[in-house]
Amino acid sequence: MTLSGKAAIAGIGATEFSKESGRSELRLAAEACLDALRDAGLSPADVDGLVTFTADASSEIAVQRELGIPGLRFFSRVDYGGGAACGTVAHAAMAVATGQADVVVCYRAFNERSGHRFGQATASGRADSTGLEFSWHLPYGFATPAAWVAMQARRYMHEYGATSEDFGRVAVAMRRHAATNPKAWFHGRPITLEEHQASRWIVDPLHLLDCCQESDGGVALVVTSAERARDLPRPPVLINAAAQGTGPDQMMMFGYYRGDLAALPAIGNVGADLWRRSGLTPADVQTAILYDHFTPFVLLQLEELGFCGRGEAGDFIRDGGIEIDGRLPVNPNGGQLGEAYIHGMNGIAEGVRQVRGSSVNQVPDVRNVLVTAGTGVPTSGLILSAA
């Protein structure tokens, strides 16, 4: 039995993306879910499953109550921060494919800028397994995601001769894409490589413009069977392959203790599963949504997923590889660096638009889109395909 092609994304929805939503996270979640259901041509009464992130502040039953969903047959949560994004769709697809539920909504909503900011220093840990893991790092003032990523970025630079400019070209490309996306926070505000280089240090070797913005907002996705999706108003976007994965000696962004720091084995494993389960190769993908919380990990993902060889991502990007007209257009919506940081869920929605052919920065003739979730943590990925 395989999951491939059994389930589809039938609707996508979102709130506006801002720095201060001015309303509760539960309200953002409910608004996004209602928007996605409208897009799918379904009503809350059709929903019998909900999936979100462990990190989300709004429980499934709270969303159920707000939406007036009569009852849930399936509910689950996926852990490990932004690594959960594609995992929510994977869980929903499995529930649909096995008949555990008919219509599952995946949601993520937060006031990540006006409320609890992930970019601020984490100061304490409990003595559970996660707290103990953080305790090898936090006491040294090693307390932010930017710092944790920068540690691997430095080693990557050392191993392959990559430079800050190589990272900067990712930020420039994302902001160029966002500049033509009216929903993007950075709509109409492209940047230059010089501006990237001149932006202040956050954690050397990362400049300010290597870091995604912090955002308020919500995104929801409606997953149902491929069969049912065919009867709904929007062209079905098939879940061709879905995977979650970890690497050896996996930690939460602290993969420093064994092996190669200039690598992201978890997303490598996810990629291998996606290619195997879909029967596709990197050449069969017309555009990719690569989780871009910090620029260096876009380079590492290009390598882990097989779009280029080890240490070659800098050249790939310098040659225009990730531009809209490049070999592999990456994040046509502007990504989390340019559109908004909604923990990767806005990227999945862009993947759906690319397959539908409805993106403001549409890549021609899209048949397959690869989408990844947060890296450096246990992660997940999807291949979305036209029916």
Binding site: D128, Y140, G141, F142, A143, T144, V203
Partner: protein, 500 residues
């Protein structure tokens, strides 16, 4: 005077005249430098001038206070009628309520203060004893400004080394002792927003809040407690599977290699190299002063560990750089294993930390002389810190007033330098009984705070010298070279065995 993180870091500074690129901070540096140079030249030219008088003759009651406070049992200081040589500075201390006055460098220190070099740490103290003094002798002393060196880049910040001399004479105007004293006046690294720490002195690049508990505390559980217990004892412990011997860091309850639940640990040598690193600038992190370096250090045992690299400017840290462990006390409870450039925490051949490592269970790496014990091990009770400060007639509040010490940015009251000199003397004479001190050269390091333990190690280095090293949980408090001469010039008490 704060003796802190001084020589180990300051001694390795870059070539003179190469200030770091501090941008606006350096504005007007040329003018300041010229004024300093001119002032230093004028002071040096003035030469030797009288210091405030020595109020009391060399006397047994003050010697008794001193020997009792320092725990010095040597009968020579009483039955022998001699004064401990390391007490030399005590005889000319002005006492409580008297203006301290006349360090011979006051004008230079004031100009540096006014020019933003507000931090101060003592880095060197060298004393030469022409002969031992006897009870009843009257002394006078003089001061002589020597010079300045700088601006130099140091771990504390850009700064100038300022050196002066004090000389003691007997009633026949014959010199009996001379002391060189050197401090680093530095420009404390600025915090973002410009809130530089007033008073500045005595903090490493990491930076901790004055007083209170360090806010970034590790969670400790049954599987990790052995590590944090070890750190408190100055040991870097690495979990080892008791069955298959696999080393593992961070530790956990099960051996991932053979699934044994039986664990033990080894004590790491404390040597490794930087495998990767970052420099944290933003956002603000409680308890830390950016920029600071966090590194993945690969230990020579093969495991990796994360920590701060201290004692070196962030832009000089490189992948592959050899580093060694330096235990940093963060507050009353927490000690963190930290990293400094290899060689920075140790000078000379006497590697007390290595000996310590060599004692570890089953480490067996052969570094250092396993099992060697410190010559002296002194629990630094508040009573010890205060009693020795008063017995050396040093009434500076940072040595007896905890609240005031903390207000000045130090963790607690700490041992004063005159006491450190006395303890170096005690250690050297315990190592070579019957010898006589001729000269002591001391380099000052981490402060010896109340609540800590000072361990003094000694090693005969040939040619009549003894190397003394005093360690606290923060690292080396003092490293000293003591030159000895054949005893007997003073009669009574001391034997005549030559130092070798």
């Amino acid at each position: 005077m704060t003796a802190a993180a001084g020589e180990s870091a300051a001694g390795r500074d870059a070539a003179a005249g190469a200030p770091e690129s501090t941008g606006a901070e350096s504005t007007g540096a040329e003018g300041v430098h010229d004024r300093l140079t001119a002032l230093a030249a004028r002071l040096a030219e003035a030469g030797e001038r009288p210091a405030p008088p020595c109020a009391d003759p060399v006397n047994e009651p003050m010697i008794r206070n001193w020997t009792q406070a320092l725990g010095d049992p040597d009968p020579a200081w009483h039955e022998g009628g001699l004064a401990p040589p390391a007490m030399i500075q005590v005889w000319s201390m002005p006492g409580l309520g008297t203006a301290k006055g006349g360090s011979a460098a006051d004008e230079v220190l004031r100009l540096l203060d006014e020019s933003g070099y507000r931090g101060v740490v003592a880095t060197n103290c060298e004393q030469t004893y022409d002969r031992y003094l006897r009870h009843g002798e009257r002394l006078r002393s003089t001061l002589r400004f020597d010079g300045i060196a700088g601006p130099k880049r140091t771990a504390m910040g850009e700064g100038y080394f300022v050196t002066w001399y004090q000389t003691w004479y007997d009633e026949r105007d014959e010199r009996v002792a001379e002391m060189l004293f050197r401090v680093l006046k530095f420009r404390p690294r600025e915090r973002p927003g410009g809130a530089g720490k007033p008073g500045g002195g005595g903090k490493g690049a990491g930076g901790k809040g004055a007083g209170g508990a360090y806010p970034l505390r590790p969670a400790v559980g049954p599987d990790t407690a052995f590590f944090w217990d070890g750190v408190k004892d100055g040991e870097l412990r690495i979990q080892r599977c008791a069955d298959c011997g696999a080393l593992r860091h961070p530790p956990g309850p099960v051996c991932p290699e053979c699934h044994s639940l039986s664990r033990e640990h080894v004590v790491a040598s404390g040597r490794g190299e930087v495998h990767s690193y970052v420099v944290h600038h933003h956002p603000p992190v409680p308890g830390r002063t950016p920029p600071y370096v966090v590194a993945v250090v690969e230990l020579e045992e093969g495991v990796r560990i994360v920590g701060n690299v201290n004692g070196v400017p962030p832009d000089e840290v490189k992948i592959g750089m050899p580093v060694e462990v330096a235990f940093e006390r963060m507050d009353d409870e927490l000690v963190l294993p930290q990293w400094v450039p290899a060689g920075a925490a140790r000078q000379g051949g006497d590697e007390a930390a290595e000996r310590k490592a060599g004692q570890g269970s089953g480490h067996g790496s052969g570094h250092g002389a396993a099992g060697e014990e410190p010559v002296l091990e002194i629990p630094l009770t508040p009573t010890f810190v205060i009693a020795t400060a008063l017995a050396t007639r040093d009434f500076t509040p940072v040595h007896h007033d905890t609240a005031l010490a903390r207000a000045q940015g130090t963790k607690d009251i700490f041992v004063n330098i005159l006491t450190t000199m006395g303890l170096v003397q005690r250690t050297a004479l315990a190592t070579v009984p019957g010898a006589e001190l001729e000269r002591v050269e001391v380099r000052l390091g981490a402060p010896a705070y109340a609540g800590d333990t000072l361990r003094l190690f000694a090693e005969r280095a040939g040619n009549g010298t003894v190397r003394v090293r005093g360690t606290v949980s923060l690292g080396d408090h003092v490293t000293a070279t003591v030159r000895l001469r054949r005893g007997g010039g003073h009669g009574g008490g001391h034997g005549t065995e030559a130092a070798r």
